[in-house]
Assembly symmetry: C2
Homo-oligomer: 157 residues x 2
DNA sequence: GTTCATGCAAATCCTTTGCAGTTCA
DNA sequence: TGAACTGCAAAGGATTTGCATGAAC
């Protein structure tokens, strides 16, 4: 989805640096790397995935640091966490642009996660919040079902 | 929400008993009690909540049994699990009636969870699934924001 | 030089599993 | 009676915390 260009990613990493600066927090190699990985990923990496990706680049970062940095990224509003029921959290860049927000289609058989956007849906949820006297901040929409590959597989049985 | 009548609850417990019977699984005191609690609860109890409720009724049930029974309830389709980001799961009776499915409004400040129903939304999600070649099975819609009480509190600061 | 971050290991929290004893059909 | 359950305690997996050391500003 929201195929992020190199430029967009660099912009996000930059925003994170500004966030750190604004909060008088040091910029470190680890923070930069973790932000880069999350912003560059098309998948929805878990903390362990991020650590593994770092390790593959010969960059060892402690588990605690990964979690602490993800906390910062979330606090900055640049990243959000999801739970697709795997028993651990997955992270992704917060969709920013107009109509950039998206939901997730999760295959209950193979676990594939596909993103989708739907403007009508996105416009609807703040209105629903309003109707219930809630101040809308953000939302998660997850649809569980079978992806086309797994459906085919099913039909063959 | 979906204010369940005594009758409806009894019916659900009954369906669970039938599920057990159909699968040649024994009906036990623990299974009955846990089902009753989940079906009777208006809140979205966690495993620990359920165990606590049992304990308050002078009925001790082991943690493993609570989890194992919840697994059965989910397998039966009568109960579903949610993760509102508290670090543990919450359970609720699966909405069954027409238009009975609902989303959740979660207050990010006080944690209150309010349910809402919206037919248009419910009709929309299977269509979206279709458009992406997914076979829709179920969905979760969660809106995070501020409830009216917490918003008031905020305005006073 | 402070202040804050890092990494490790220990701790914590939720959930699952193994096993001896017990209940259900 | 046999199959399945229950409870306890131990194990597991993800995430958090404490603390000594090290990097950032």
């Amino acid at each position: 989805m929201a195929r992020s260009s190199l430029r967009e990613r660099a912009d996000l990493v930059d925003r994170f640096r500004h966030y750190l600066q604004d909060h008088r927090l040091p910029r470190t190699r680890q923070r930069d790397r973790i932000a880069e990985i999350v912003f560059a990923s098309e998948a929805h990496p878990s903390a362990a995935d991020i650590q593994r990706t770092l390790a593959e680049g010969d960059d060892h970062v402690g588990t605690a640091t990964v979690y602490r940095t993800l906390e910062l990224l979330i606090a900055s509003g640049l990243v959000r966490a999801h739970d697709f029921g795997d028993g651990f959290k997955r992270y992704e860049a917060t969709p920013m642009q107009q109509g950039g927000d998206h939901g997730h289609l999760i295959c209950v058989r193979c676990g594939t996660v596909v993103e989708f956007t739907n403007d009508r849906l996105e416009r609807m949820l703040p209105i629903i919040s309003d109707e219930h006297a809630f101040v809308h901040q953000r939302h998660h929409v997850e649809i569980y079902g079978l992806c086309s590959a797994c459906r085919k597989h099913d039909l063959e049985l």
